[in-house]
């Protein structure tokens, strides 16, 4: 309640920033779901509590510097004064109390907003498997049998459970307006849950530097009504191409989404987006297990590596 004003200012500033850009929400200051909203609330709370410790510094430093300036003959001068029990108690006590308050807050929210924790919602959750590639994201919908590059469509008010890995170096997956980020690492599975309150377009990105195409590794997360989502799925099934090990090897090459789209002749779709009507079974598992066989993965079979060879890689998989 105390921080309502602050909250309003933050929203206002966020709106100003938004009005300047294209209409994609790309900050948690303008949240599109409960997780980002809670994160914003946390930020404002911390700002408020720490001000108790900080404002005295801001206000008293200039007062002291002016009052006790060398030329001020009226100020008291006590060169040997170096201790006061009252001050000592205040100096240790106030920050301790603030940190204690913030710590309980941190304990509650960190558990409540744990990215591994499913979000309660009325609709059945949607599972999506995310593979980070250089420099694009592959989204596999295992229950729908479709996949996309750089386009994450989700129904509104539905908990989305993401499983993440990469088939190259480490990356970090984030849709700021919906939830925070989580690392995606080769041979490992991380998890993230998010939910969009209403239809909207949200920018998603990789935040972990992974080479020359890094700034291009953005995608659109599109929240839509259930009906619109069903229509979208139908459209992907109708217009998409199959995601085979051959086309996967092309997508996995170090290239931006736009370059991969060109290689696979999908330019009718929005920039950088590719639709796949079918997905080879257990593709996510195949990627995950590529590094877990106890056999070497040579650079020619390592997506993203210098010397990666899609042909050799498919051969490798067939073998």
């Amino acid at each position: 309640m105390k921080f309502r004003h602050l909250s309003r200012i933050v929203s206002l500033a966020g709106c100003l920033a938004l009005s300047a850009c294209s209409g994609t929400q790309d900050t948690f200051l303008l949240p599109g779901g409960p997780i980002a909203a809670a994160q914003r609330a946390e930020l404002i709370k911390i700002l408020g509590w720490t001000m108790i410790a900080i404002l005295p510094v801001f206000m008293l430093v200039p007062v002291f510097l002016w009052r006790y300036r060398y030329r001020n003959r009226n100020a008291r001068y006590t060169p040997d004064w170096d201790r006061s029990w009252l001050l000592e108690v205040l100096m240790w006590g106030v920050p301790l109390v603030i940190v204690a308050v913030l710590s309980t807050q941190l304990y509650r929210t960190t558990h409540a907003l744990d990215p591994y924790k499913p979000i309660a919602s009325d609709n059945p959750p949607l599972r999506v498997e995310v593979v980070g590639l250089d420099w694009k994201w592959l989204f596999i919908y295992p229950d729908l049998g479709i996949a996309t590059v750089n386009e994450l469509a989700i129904p509104e008010k539905t908990s989305v459970a993401l499983d993440l890995t990469t088939d190259t170096v480490m990356q970090s997956f984030m849709i700021p307006a919906l939830a925070g980020q989580i690392y995606a690492m080769p041979g490992m599975r991380t998890k993230l849950h998010l939910l969009a309150d209403a239809p909207g377009r949200f920018e998603g990105e990789n935040t972990q530097f992974n080479g020359t195409g890094f700034p291009a590794q953005k995608f659109q997360a599109i929240a839509m009504t259930q009906a619109a989502f069903d229509a979208w799925v139908a459209k992907v099934r109708a217009g998409g191409q199959p995601l085979t090990s051959d086309s996967y090897a092309v997508v996995a090459e170090a290239s931006t989404g736009a370059e991969a789209q060109k290689r696979l002749d999908a330019q009718t779709l929005p920039a950088g987006v590719i639709h796949f009507a079918t997905v080879e079974d257990d593709l996510f598992k195949t990627v995950l297990h590529r590094y877990m066989h106890g056999t070497p993965v040579p650079p020619s079979a390592q997506p993203g590596a210098i010397g990666y060879d899609p042909q050799a890689a498919t051969g490798e998989q067939d073998r």
Binding site: T27, E42, P79, D82, V99, L113, F214
Partner: protein, 697 residues
């Protein structure tokens, strides 16, 4: 691809050759930087030859084991590298200001810039600057004649210089890593970056890191064993306490980094699989090891600067430091806590919420002792007599800006927020916000404060003020907008961006970068003008600021042996007490011979051999690697056979010098603080009386 004599070094390794073959803007900028290194090196050689300075350089500096000269050389190295680091930062700001869908730098060049910028600023600016100030000041403050291990001190400097040299050479030969200052695998593994870039990083870090570990041992042992009689632990100036904490961190935090870098080297050179994707490698281990070093490192840098601010604020307020014991406890608890928080650099790696909670709370807990320090400095201003000299301007900027950095630190300590702003420009703004106002302002305040002690003349006040104000404004314009961009979700290390809404903030940041470059220019001009006007600025008597600790009780610059007679310490702020009691500037009953260590070339031999070793390893020139390594080891073993490497300074010579100085003190006018920055200030101070100030003039 690789031959027996030159390894993988060939014509295309030369960045100038690459620019001739492919003259794009980016390559030309790279070649220009390489030319700058070559021309700068040649100019230095020509000037040294022209003014016949080779011999004095060798005799008085490069082979010296005097902690004061080693300290000055560390600071000189740091200032040279600072110039490169600032220019790189400004270049990145310029690229991003024009970076909406484009800009003028190639992505690879931009990545090299942020990698070298970070590596240089941390390892070859902040660390040597701090090692330099500690080297110079700490032995003087505890009343010692030299470091506990003067020769090892020289070797530490040699190894640090080696690391810096390798980073400089990477401008001319080959290229630097593009993996950022943390150089995370697998991106920096052999599969993804087979070139020499990450190898430059590895060997620069390993060699300099060993040097820093040795420095830490040296500083700690010096404080434990070399204190003057009566200098109890609880009588030491706060700066020395901060040095203890920093040395402990150096000793314990640097080895994980050295080990992590060597493990990465094993992956790259010997086909090991510590951090590779396949065969059981796991980059999470690297991330943990790196930050097990990386977080204490932040405190390693900032703690001595807390010490510098303590000295500066106490001296220029004409007061004891408020809450000495609180300061000691706070510093020690920060040093211990700094080892308990490394995981907050990767809350987003997928560990359980409980682990994140533990590390989040530990990280926030550091705000308590840090807060105490800020309040203690404020209480030191309270009822003091504050002179707004250059170091105090830096301190004021520090008060304001560092507190903002602390606020965003508390935010980042919270996993919930970290999930959103990790890896964004918010993070970049945060760590610049603690490192520039905290570390760099502290070091520049210290530079200004102790320069007259080291060289016998003050730095020009006007240019110093201009530099300080420009630094403060430049920092604010450059980095405060980045907080906003980070909250808007802009990732760090982006060569371009596509959201036009970011543009105005980018321009603001570029303006700030221009201010920072001019601040650096002011510092250079200030040094030039101060050297030219050194007669007007001279403070040979040694106490220009009415100082409180032992270093001010000796001439400026101090003699090689520091103290004619080792001081008998009776109190905290002993020199201030001595001046008040009339104990100061007394001639001792008798002088004794002083034994001092001889000069040695071992530091230079190690530096040259290690640089060749590093280059040989980077370019796979195996014969040279074996040769230079063997030469270095043999030289070190050979050195151990010299047992009596000491010379004696006779008592008569010391007595004559000391008595002459005391006579000058007797004859010189003592000045009050209104004349502190006046020509009349020769370095002898009038005692400040408590109560009201007498009418000025």
């Amino acid at each position: 691809m690789s031959n027996a004599i030159l390894g993988r070094l060939d014509l295309s390794s030369l960045s100038i050759w690459r620019a001739i073959e492919n003259p794009t803007g980016s390559e030309l900028i790279g070649a220009g930087a390489a030319m700058l290194v070559i021309v700068g090196g040649l100019a230095a050689v020509i000037l040294l030859t022209w003014f016949r300075l080779w011999k004095p350089l060798w005799r008085d500096w490069l082979t010296s084991v005097d902690h004061k000269r080693i300290g000055i050389m560390y600071c000189a190295l740091a200032l040279i590298m600072l110039a490169r680091g600032v220019i790189e930062g400004a270049l990145m700001r310029t690229q991003q200001a024009f970076g909406l869908h484009g800009g003028f730098l190639a992505p690879d060049h931009f990545s090299e810039l942020f990698s070298t910028h970070g590596t240089i600023m941390i390892f070859f600016v902040a660390m040597p600057f701090i090692a330099g100030v500690i080297n110079y000041v700490m032995p003087l403050q505890i009343g010692a004649r030299d470091m506990a291990f003067p020769v090892m001190n020289q070797i530490s400097l040699g190894l640090t210089a080696t690391g810096a040299a390798l980073v400089m050479i990477s401008l001319v030969l080959g290229e630097f890593s593009t993996g950022g200052w943390a150089n995370y695998p697998p991106y920096t593994g052999g599969d993804f970056q087979p070139g020499p870039g990450p190898d430059y990083w590895i060997w620069a870090i390993v060699l300099a890191g060993i040097g820093t570990t040795l420095s830490g041992i040296n500083f700690a042992v010096t404080i434990y064993k070399e204190r003057a009689p009566g200098m109890d632990f609880l009588r030491m100036p706060i700066f020395c306490w901060t040095v203890i904490c920093t040395s402990i961190i150096m000793v314990f935090a640097l080895p994980p980094l050295t080990v992590a870098a060597l493990m990465l080297a094993a992956d790259r050179y010997l086909d090991f699989h510590f951090f590779t994707n396949d065969l059981g490698g796991n980059m999470m281990n690297y991330v943990n090891l790196f930050w097990l070093f990386g977080h204490p490192e932040v405190y390693l840098l900032v703690i001595p600067c807390y010490g510098i601010f303590s000295e500066v604020i106490s001296t220029f307020s004409g007061k004891r430091i408020y809450g000495y014991m609180s300061m000691v406890y706070a510093t020690m608890s920060i040093a211990v806590l700094s080892f308990c928080v490394w995981l907050h650099h990767f809350f987003t790696m997928g560990q359980s919420a409980s682990i994140n909670v533990a590390f989040g709370i530990a990280s926030m807990a550091i705000a308590v002792p840090t807060g105490i320090k800020v309040y203690n400095w404020m209480a030191t201003l309270f009822r003091g007599r504050v002179r707004m000299t250059v170091p105090m301007i830096y301190a004021t900027g520090f008060f304001y800006l560092f507190v903002v950095g602390g606020l965003t630190g508390v935010m980042l300590a919270n996993p919930v927020i970290s999930f959103q702003v990790h890896n964004t420009l918010f993070l970049v703004a945060h760590f610049h916000n603690v490192i520039i106002p905290g570390v760099l302002f502290g070091l520049l305040a210290g530079y200004h404060y102790w320069f007259p002690k080291a060289f016998g003349f003050r730095l020009h006040e006007g240019w110093g003020r201009a530099a300080a104000l420009l630094w403060i404004a430049g920092f604010s314009f450059t980095f405060l907008p980045l907080y906003w961009l980070g909250l808007q979700g802009m990732p760090r290390r982006s060569v371009t961006f596509s959201d036009p809404a970011f543009q105005p903030m980018m321009w603001l940041a570029l303006f700030g970068a221009a201010l920072i470059v001019s601040a650096l220019g002011c510092i250079a001009v200030q040094l030039w003008i101060s050297i030219r006007k050194r007669d007007q600025l001279a403070v040979p008597l040694g106490d220009p600021w009415n100082g409180r600790s032992l270093e001010w009780s000796i001439p400026a610059p101090p003699p090689a042996y520091n103290f004619a007679v080792l001081p008998q310490v009776c109190a905290r702020d002993d020199f201030a007490e001595a001046k008040a009691d009339g104990r100061a500037y007394r001639a001792p009953g008798q002088y004794e011979d002083i034994e001092m260590p001889d000069n040695t070339a071992i530091g230079m031999i190690v530096c040259v051999c290690a640089t060749l070793l590093g280059l040989a390893l980077v370019f796979w020139i195996w014969w040279l690697a074996i040769l230079s390594f063997a030469a270095m080891i043999l030289a070190l073993i050979g050195r151990t056979f010299r047992v009596n490497a000491r010379h004696v300074i006779p008592a008569a010579e010391i007595a004559a010098e000391h008595r002459a100085w005391l006579a000058r003190i007797e004859a010189a006018p003592a000045v009050d603080r209104l004349e502190e920055t006046h020509e009349r200030n020769l370095g002898r101070a009038v005692l400040e009386q408590p109560g009201r100030l007498e009418a000025a003039q």
